[in-house]
């Protein structure tokens, strides 16, 4: 198991370097530079522009800039935001809990509805229930995030006025940050009003962000369950006289979980990418919105550092999924030992 973990960690290193290179190169392909954008519409004296570019080291050849960047990275220094003059790492750390809270809520929404939908569709294969569930899943999967988010806002915030339009919590509330998760922190502070406000703000973005993972999970669960339900050990379990629900929820689901786990792992990447759009629609103060602003202001260190940290999160989740495989399937576990 330890050997397996070390091997997987070693595989992360090249992926990490690759991401750093892509992030470094792509932001520099975007026309304009940070100084030009910061100086605004009135422009800047070319001499002053060159002086500032030199100050930040952007006058050096690209490969030297990249090596400088890698050198700093190796020391744990992600650089300083050109806009806020704060270290990228601390900016990220202060905004990441908001994104994480949103992503977890979205994933829970997807799991709580997607797994049962997939199981029921598999059990009712070919019947109207199956067609309705899978038709809805396809619709959800095909819905562009920004469009879906706006539709939800029009209905629930506009017409029904059940939920706020944007933000993370009503401004009248102040919650002392402990975990960074407003739902948790408001409970720690014992502030029920703040908790309710945070929850009402969270609902729509979580649904918007969770819809695609929900659809993918439902379809994956259905096909995994259908495959497993045809296995001989399911017939043998029925021959044992076990309760049908025990057969479905224990014997079949346990085996179907392995492909479903893969899907969950892959959807985490989709969630973080989707967070960029969702956070922009709902003005959710997380890394997605921050990253969009950093790109607009050509804030090189923030874009590079932010992408790298997001990539790191996705890699960590995939590693976690790999470890969970072993827990779900004893054959995989024993093969690793």
């Amino acid at each position: 198991m330890i050997r397996f973990l070390l091997l997987r960690l070693a595989q992360i290193v090249p992926a990490f370097i690759g991401v750093s290179l892509i992030a470094f190169a792509f932001i520099r392909l975007v026309p304009g530079d940070p100084i030009e954008v910061l100086s605004g519409e009135r422009g800047i004296d070319p001499e002053r522009h060159a002086e500032l570019m030199a100050k930040f080291g952007y006058d050096k050849p690209l490969h030297l800039q990249y090596f400088d960047y890698l050198y700093n990275l190796a020391q744990g220094d992600l650089g300083t935001s050109l806009v806020t003059r704060k270290p990228v790492l601390s900016e990220f750390a202060s905004l990441f809990p908001a994104t994480l809270e949103l992503s977890i809520a979205a994933m829970l929404f997807a799991l709580v509805l997607g797994l049962p939908a997939g199981i029921i569709a598999a059990l009712r294969r070919g019947k109207p229930t199956d067609h309705i569930l899978m038709g809805s899943a396809l619709t959800g999967y095909s819905m562009p995030i920004f469009w879906w988010g706006l539709l939800l806002i029009i209905l629930f915030s506009g017409i029904l006025q059940w939920t706020p339009v944007s933000g993370r919590i009503a401004v009248i509330h102040y919650v002392t940050p402990v975990t960074g998760f407003l739902l948790v922190d408001s409970l720690i502070a014992g502030d029920i009003d703040a908790f309710q406000s945070a929850l009402r703000h969270l609902v729509l973005p979580a649904i918007t962000l969770g819809t695609i993972p929900l659809a993918v999970l439902a379809r994956q669960t259905r096909s995994a369950m259908l495959e497993v339900l045809g296995e001989e050990y399911i017939r043998a379990a029925r021959a044992k006289g076990l309760h049908p629900w025990r057969i479905v929820l224990l014997h079949a689901l346990r085996n179907a979980l392995i492909p479903v786990l893969t899907t969950i792992g892959l959807q985490v990447g989709v969630l973080l990418a989707g967070a960029i759009l969702t956070e922009s629609i709902f003005s959710w103060p997380g890394i997605g919105k921050w990253l969009v602003h950093s790109i607009f202001s050509r804030d090189y260190p923030s874009v590079q550092g932010g992408l790298l940290l997001i990539a790191l999160c996705i890699m960590a989740v995939n590693l976690l999924v790999d470890i969970l495989y072993g827990m779900a399937d004893p054959r995989i576990r024993h093969a690793r030992e």
Partner: protein, 324 residues
């Protein structure tokens, strides 16, 4: 004669298809006495497994079935609600399958799977279940039973897994054990061990054994009575000695002649010409007539009924041993 343990009359199973219902099992009659070993023998696709799945109530939704009588231990299975029927499975009637390693759930230790059977049908506490599971593994001839409880199916050989399946099947002391080709997937030495084990368990526990096989050798070694199936029909049924000494149905006779032990020392092993008709192209009249050496005109047109013949059953107009 006391009432038989299992009594099935005129069992039919059909599968819906585009061209109407296809009959996989047609008019099967079985009776099994308490403590008896009955073997159902037939080629692949002869309907023997499907008939047993119908008895267990485990046919898929695409299958339809009917029977005139289906009684087990005095209980009318046809009148029993599905829930009560399900509760009988594992407790009164249990079943083992052809592929032992595929019949055990790969995600759970074998001990857990045996204890689960006990939890479903008995009032034993969890410690008692654990002890009983260990005892069952030992009874099924598994060494180091205590350690094996924690093993997963992929860590055991096919033969060991079949022993686990057997341990599980006898866990609640069923009155009938159905073994569906229990040795087909195992190699020859293990086959003999498993058959010996099954026979010993029948003697020890007094349960009846319904052994499904395509191997006449297995029948000769194990069973007391045998029922031969061909293309969904039962063609002959009688005591093993009588059937081996003087087969009445031409198909049975041809099967026995094709056994290597019975074949002439030199020359080719006799074979039955042609193949078993598929479920969708069964001939008219006697289903065996296109391949039968004793075929006459009436065999083509009329389907012979299943009739009493001596101490057994026979479905043939011109049986062996009678000159026409």
């Amino acid at each position: 004669m006391s009432t038989p343990l299992l009594e099935i009359e005129d069992l039919c199973v059909g599968f819906a298809s585009e061209r109407g219902t296809l009959r996989a099992v047609d008019g099967v009659c079985l009776h099994v006495e308490k403590g008896e070993i009955l073997s159902i023998v037939g080629e692949s696709g002869s309907g023997k497994s499907v008939a047993m799945l119908a008895l267990m109530g485990l046919l898929g939704a695409e299958a339809t079935w009917s029977a005139k009588t289906m009684r087990f231990d005095g209980i009318d299975l046809l009148a029993l609600p599905p829930q009560a029927r399900r509760r009988m499975l594992g407790k009164e009637i249990s079943m083992i399958f052809q592929e032992p390693s595929a019949s055990l759930n790969p995600c759970f230790p074998v001990g857990y799977q045996i204890e689960e059977m006990l939890a479903a049908h008995t009032q034993l506490s969890s410690t008692e279940r654990r002890e009983r599971a260990e005892e069952l593994l030992r009874q099924a001839g598994i060494p180091d039973a205590r350690q094996r409880l924690k093993a997963f199916p992929h860590q055991l050989s096919g033969g060991m897994n079949q022993r686990v399946m057997i341990a599980m099947a006898i866990a609640c002391s069923p009155k009938l054990l159905i073994a569906d080709e229990p040795t087909t997937a195992l190699d020859v030495t293990i086959q003999a061990q498993i058959l010996n084990l099954l026979r010993a368990l029948v003697d020890e526990t007094g349960m009846a054994l319904l052994l499904i096989t395509h191997d006449m050798g297995v029948v000769a070694e194990t069973a007391e009575r045998v029922s031969v199936m061909y293309a969904g029909h039962q063609v002959e049924s009688r005591k093993v000695e009588a059937l081996f000494d003087a087969p009445r149905h031409p198909y049975t006779k041809a099967l026995l002649e094709a056994l290597p032990d019975r074949a002439p020392a030199h020359g080719h092993l006799p074979a039955i010409p042609g193949t078993v008709p598929g479920i969708d192209n069964r001939p008219n009249g006697c289903l065996f007539h296109p391949r039968c050496s004793r075929m006459q005109e009436d065999c083509r047109a009329l389907e012979p009924p299943l009739l009493e013949d001596g101490d057994g059953l026979l479905r043939c107009f011109h049986p062996c041993g009678t000159e026409s």
